[in-house]
Symmetry: C2
Subunit: 456 residues, 2 copies
């Protein structure tokens, strides 16, 4: 089909912010667009922590890409893992099950994002899941709620303490939001649901190697965020490097040289990202450079060295120190689409890409957030309202997610968490907890018939 | 704790309708209740098909048991698989990970429900998941939406046809509802989302060994339901026995002796149930009889032969031909709780348990249902309204599930499916589809550089 229409063929890899905004910018134009993605959904990643903590369902933050693009008739979507990009032959090879698809392109937009990075310690992943995709969030949901369940039945005080200690590694927005939500869960939502344990006894620790929380937000907001977290019962440890992670805890080394072990069954890794390997794949072919996180050093118009028809976006690029945020991908996607369309119309190249900082925000808990927009920074309830408005607008932009808004409202009015189901993920969650070891749970002495009858 | 309070100890196994209504009926009374369950949630099973077809989220139909029972201070909930029931020692042994818990009881209520039955053909399960729990529903969701995805990219017309054929085995309420929803998905929701396939071409087949759909609803309503399904594009085949199931289809034998193979990647098994093995476990100890489906032939007060302190409920019992519906469990749970409390107060035993039929209902699609209440039967929009009212009331009864109602309303107003995410389940879904075999997806000829450039 592609080869026959004669139209300029654009292939987009990825259904994140970059891929989706590229596709939308090319919609209705005289080009033939194919979006290839590993998942059938677009993930609204800024709210992933709400799935992990039971507020929203997967569908609330991950609408089907096909649904979002249903009316964009010149855009087709195919599900597939990209196995190969051949920048000489100009083809993308993807696979979905046994089924391999080779899609030729005239222009290529690579927006495959980033995964979690454990800084070379990949064995941490088993014990401390990241927060990059829906599977991560559901696994963490299972682990977090499951830890309280196990704490309720254990008879060993030490295990109970380990089960009721939650450590979040990385005090960027995701880490701050996770720590705040786990504290809220234990102090409010679950407070009255148990009989043997008091969920309010849960200890929530937030670690970061830097000297402040939210390092990119500046001293002032970082301090505000820290105070707000501490008020909510989160223990903040800064200048703290994780040196090892296992099933029952983690080892931490502090800037002053001291070391400490924190006993904790549930760990969340919100510390680092590594760009998709597709960046390195094309950089190697083109002789372009990549940085340690696998990001490609692109030209100033977001293209690959020597390949003006190949664009890279968002988390995959290293350009002028731009941060790996959604806006970088969105602005990059629009820029790339404009450039492709401009070339077809014989226009001059655009000026080099410049990222416009639209500000950053992070929620700490219900009604409390920090925000910095340009030179203005604010915190508390007003910041929370701003956060809400921005996120609602962003989500409603794609699709009318009324039910998401309503779920939010309901959760915000009460302290409930409606999405607490753990399914296959529970198996993973439990497996992680088994690292406590079989000896950690000695069989209870089995009470005999006599003893029971005496007791009644 | 249990042994010390001196109160009468009731252990309830299961968090389904029977277990939950037993617990609620014992709430606030002078007994100490422990509810042991394999899952942390109560499953509102009548709406499971809506999770499988993307309308509702897991949390919408599966609230946390602990949350439902938060205010019932004399009820504690523990998560665990029951490994052993010792009716002489009067203990229940459950396990959650390595952690084993032995809970002694004075009265025991076993309400562990039923699982899917493949009538001795357990190898069917791999290819045709049942519809009993959330994992089933999510796996089927992944398979159903995944089949359309694979159909979009396959180049083999025969595979495309197999991928667009959906077979539902069993024309009880669940099967009818699933077939109706898959038809609605393909004809409405997905109709405009694909570029290569037309989802309206999907074939939905509903099979049953009986001579009518909804066999327990009587001829009249069965006929109505069949007509309504056929109007919506569902192909109904009756007197049809499934003799084998594999990755790419199933073999069917009809009452007239003929046989046929239906090529279909996605199969749903809604055909039979087998009671939890805990029934057989206690029946064996007590010398009580069980039927072929593993249900226990209980005394007329729902107790186990020779053990008036052990009650069995719902899908686990075989008594006077009562049907395995939610109401049987609910009424049984209330009866058992009354009996336990009556004994403590020195009351006479109640009259034998009698199931009160409150009617049956099944939806076929939006705005269309069949219902039979006593001698009155009705169908169409009025029946659908009745179905809606009954289900809303039942759910709101447990908890204020405003967000569920809103999700419903939004879905009913549009044709959207907001819950289309497939995660770990996708892996299973895809694995099943791989049974098409590697040869089914030959690599596409890889187009060369020249050919592409020619095309633009």
């Amino acid at each position: 089909m592609s080869a026959n229409s004669g139209k300029h063929r654009v292939v987009i890899i990825g259904s994140g912010f970059g891929g989706l905004f590229s596709a939308k910018a090319l919609s209705g134009k005289d080009v033939e667009v194919t979006l290839v993605s590993r998942t059938g959904h677009h993930l609204f990643q800024p709210l992933l922590y709400q799935v992990a903590t039971g507020i929203l369902s997967e569908g609330d933050i991950a609408p089907a890409t096909r649904d979002i693009l249903a009316r964009d008739k010149n855009v087709r979507t195919i599900l597939g893992d990209v196995e190969d990009i051949d920048i000489e032959a100009r083809t993308v090879t993807s696979r979905s099950l046994g089924q391999q698809t080779v899609t030729p392109y005239d222009s290529l937009i690579i927006a495959a994002g980033a995964g979690q990075s454990y800084f070379g310690n990949d064995h941490f992943a088993r014990y401390a899941p990241g927060m990059k995709d829906i599977d991560n969030a559901l696994e963490l949901r299972g682990r977090i709620f499951g830890a309280f369940e196990l704490a309720e039945t254990t008879t060993d005080p030490q295990d109970r303490e380990r089960l009721l200690t939650f450590v979040v590694v990385g005090a960027g927005p995701t880490g701050v939001e996770m720590a705040g939500q786990i504290a809220e869960l234990s102090h409010k939502t679950l407070a009255h649901e148990f009989r043997h344990i008091n969920p309010r006894d849960a200890r929530v620790v937030l670690l970061d190697g830097a000297d402040q929380v939210l390092p990119t937000f500046g001293d002032h907001l970082g301090g505000k965020a820290r105070a707000s977290l501490e008020k909510r019962g989160v223990e903040v440890q800064l200048g703290a490097m994780v040196t090892d992670v296992d099933g029952t805890g983690l080892d931490v080394k502090y800037k002053d040289g001291s070391t400490r072990r924190i006993e904790a069954v549930t760990k969340v890794w919100a510390a680092g990202v590594a760009a998709s390997g597709l960046g390195t794949m094309v950089a190697d072919q083109a002789g372009a450079e990549t940085d340690r996180a696998g990001r490609v050093l692109v030209e100033d118009n977001l293209t690959l060295k020597g390949h003006p028809e190949v664009f890279l976006l968002g988390d995959m690029i290293n350009l002028k120190g731009y941060p790996g945020v959604a806006q970088l991908a969105i602005q990059g996607g629009r820029y790339a689409a404009r450039e492709i369309l401009g070339r077809l119309e014989g226009k001059e190249p655009q000026a080099p890409f410049v990222y416009k900082d639209k500000g950053s925000m992070a929620t700490i808990s219900k009604y409390s957030a920090v925000a910095s927009i340009g030179k203005i920074s604010f915190s508390g309830f007003v910041a929370w309202l701003a956060w809400l408005a921005v996120h609602l607008m962003a989500m409603v932009g794609f699709k009318n997610r009324i039910s998401t808004l309503l779920n939010w409202m309901i959760t915000f009015l009460g302290n409930n968490r409606n999405e607490r189901v753990t399914t296959m993920q529970q198996v993973f969650a439990r497996r992680a907890m088994e690292d406590l070891g079989p000896d950690a749970y000695p069989e209870l002495p089995r009470r005999g018939h006599e003893e029971q009858r005496d007791a009644t």
